[in-house]
């Protein structure tokens, strides 16, 4: 079967996904749009308006993508439901009707575990109780493929989820179409490897790879997104549409293989613990790389949950200096502003950016950047005010002050027993007449 990747993060481009849906003869197209912190931002939006909380680009993406996907019979699987999958499902149903299309949408819920996670348990990162980090605003468990299979069983054309482990978004449709059992460790490991390679979309086709003159990527402006041809035994070939930009090589595949893997001997996902030590990547043609050799151990008993908490307000401000002695003037400004802010007790960082060129000579232009975390907007504004005051109270020739204050939702992790997580599927349908 053929499975494509239509987004690798919330801010991804949509054109390559539409192209894949229209021309790549896919069975499934997966759009992965939730980073570690993205769902907490969604929860923030949902707290302000209970009808929001899904991916802000959902409508714009689906307006372009659904007509192509429905025409070519491509199933869409995506976590763009973010903090509010049901609202995303309703929006998608209404959009299908608006576009004059038929379709079935299956919404997976149950990742939101805020009401059942004890805030007194320690965070994995630092052992400090969750609630001691700040007021807890969200808790979302990373669901595995098993939560998606019932949604796929409904015959849905679009599957919308909230927090799901990134590779599981791919493992589920692979297992569903290829008839894999979830306890078949070698196949689920192979599927997880495919998912891990595809989950960042353009990162395996040459996006985030180019280093001019050293690692050149042809047609980067027209970067195509990847797909995988997966055999029943789990071996796979990563490829892209021939007339798109980018490159699929053993080098791009190797970089993506180990991306964000903290232990290559045991990469934990809700479906399997993946071992990379036997994985091979071989060039199998132009822009085609064959992967094999994934091994797996039994999945963890507990699911990881991302917990969002109110971490305070971040001030971020800057001022630029140029011409002779610019770096020393910027450093003086850094010293002045940190001295003036010393009494605030805030965590503050001042960097002079771009002070030196590649060969070590002072640069013609550099910028002082000051960042701080504050408990409230007023304290954050004190930092911005001191940077702005450098105009007439600092070194010569400073200009271009910008200041920004925004609330920060921090993220820590905790483990939750699988038995505490109950998932469910809601089906929404447009039959064409009822629009």
């Amino acid at each position: 079967m053929r499975i494509g990747s239509g987004a690798g993060f919330a801010g991804d481009r949509i054109e390559p996904a539409v192209d894949l849906a229209a021309r790549a003869e896919l069975d499934d197209l997966v759009l992965e749009c939730l980073a570690e912190r993205t769902i907490a931002l969604g929860q923030q939006r949902k707290l302000r308006d209970s009808a929001l909380g899904y991916d802000p680009r959902l409508r714009a993406r689906f307006e372009r993508l659904l007509p192509a996907a429905r025409e070519h019979g491509v199933r869409i699987v995506t976590n763009m439901g973010a903090a509010n999958p049901l609202a995303a499902g309703i929006l998608t149903r209404d959009l299908l009707a608006e576009l004059g299309l038929r379709g079935k949408i299956a919404v997976v819920t149950g990742d939101d575990v805020l009401d059942r996670l004890d805030p007194r348990i320690p965070a994995l990162e630092d052992g400090i109780p969750l609630a001691d980090h700040g007021a807890v605003v969200s808790a979302n468990a990373y669901l595995g493929a098993e939560a998606l299979l019932p949604a796929l069983d409904t015959g849905a054309d679009v599957v919308l989820t909230g927090r799901v482990a990134d590779p599981s978004l791919f493992v589920a449709p692979l297992a569903h179409r290829l008839g894999w059992e979830l306890d078949d460790l070698s196949r689920i490991a192979a599927g997880t490897l495919v998912g891990h390679l595809l989950e960042c979309a353009g990162q395996v086709t040459g996006g985030y790879f180019a280093d001019p003159g050293v690692k050149d990527v042809p047609g980067l402006a027209e970067l195509g997104f990847p797909f995988a041809e997966v055999a029943a035994d789990g071996t796979a070939t990563i490829g892209k549409l021939a007339d798109t930009g980018g490159v699929v090589s053993t080098a791009t595949v190797r970089e993506q293989l180990l991306y964000e893997v903290t232990d290559p001997t045991g990469y934990r996902t809700p479906d399997v613990v993946l071992d990379f030590r036997g994985v091979r990547a071989e060039q199998a043609g132009a822009d085609r790389v064959r992967i094999s050799g994934a091994a797996g151990r039994a999945r963890p008993e507990e699911l990881k949950a991302s917990v969002g908490y109110r971490a305070g307000y971040r001030a971020e401000c800057g001022i630029s200096y140029a011409g002779p002695n610019a770096a020393r003037r910027a450093q003086l400004a850094a010293d002045v502003v940190t001295t003036r802010l010393r009494g605030t007790g805030l965590r503050i960082r001042a960097d002079v950016l771009g002070a030196f060129g590649d060969s070590g000579e002072p640069a013609d232009e550099c910028r002082l950047r000051v960042a701080a975390m504050a408990p409230d907007p007023e304290a954050a504004d004190v930092v911005c005010h001191e940077v702005e005051a450098l105009y007439t109270n600092g070194p010569a020739g400073g200009g271009g002050v910008r200041a920004d204050v925004r609330e920060v939702i921090g993220i820590v992790s905790a483990l939750i027993p699988r038995s505490d997580v109950e998932t469910r599927v809601t089906v929404l349908e447009v039959d064409g007449a009822a629009a």
């Binding site: 993506q256 180990l258 991306y259 990379f276 030590r277």
Partner: protein, 104 residues
């Protein structure tokens, strides 16, 4: 000779941990990387950024070295005060390692 001349690298982030995946352009240079780019040397080279330990995994099947760097991201992407909150630039910083110099 800079590491950049013979190898490429990608950084990834998980919480306050940065992963740095290092690959030679030519597979035959893998042994050189294994010999020269030790965990201690990476830790010393990135001392301004990496506070915690550095673990190295050798993956000869992929001609890869994987460095797992703890406490490398000023607390992690959400609460970091760095401009590059994900620590993406650490991959290029690692490639500025000068293999001729022994002081790391």
């Amino acid at each position: 000779m800079l590491l950049h001349d013979i190898a490429h690298c990608r950084a990834g982030d998980k919480g306050d941990t940065s992963t740095l995946s290092l690959f030679p352009y030519r597979d035959e240079d893998f042994d050189l990387l294994v010999r020269e780019v030790t965990a201690d040397r990476v830790r010393a080279h990135l001392a301004d950024h990496v506070v915690g330990e550095v673990l190295r995994y050798e993956l000869p099947n992929l001609c890869a070295l994987q460095f797992t760097c703890r406490q490398a991201l000023d607390g992690g992407v959400t609460t970091s005060l760095a401009l590059d909150t994900h620590g993406k630039a650490l991959s290029s910083r690692l490639l500025s390692l000068d293999l001729r110099r022994r002081d790391g």
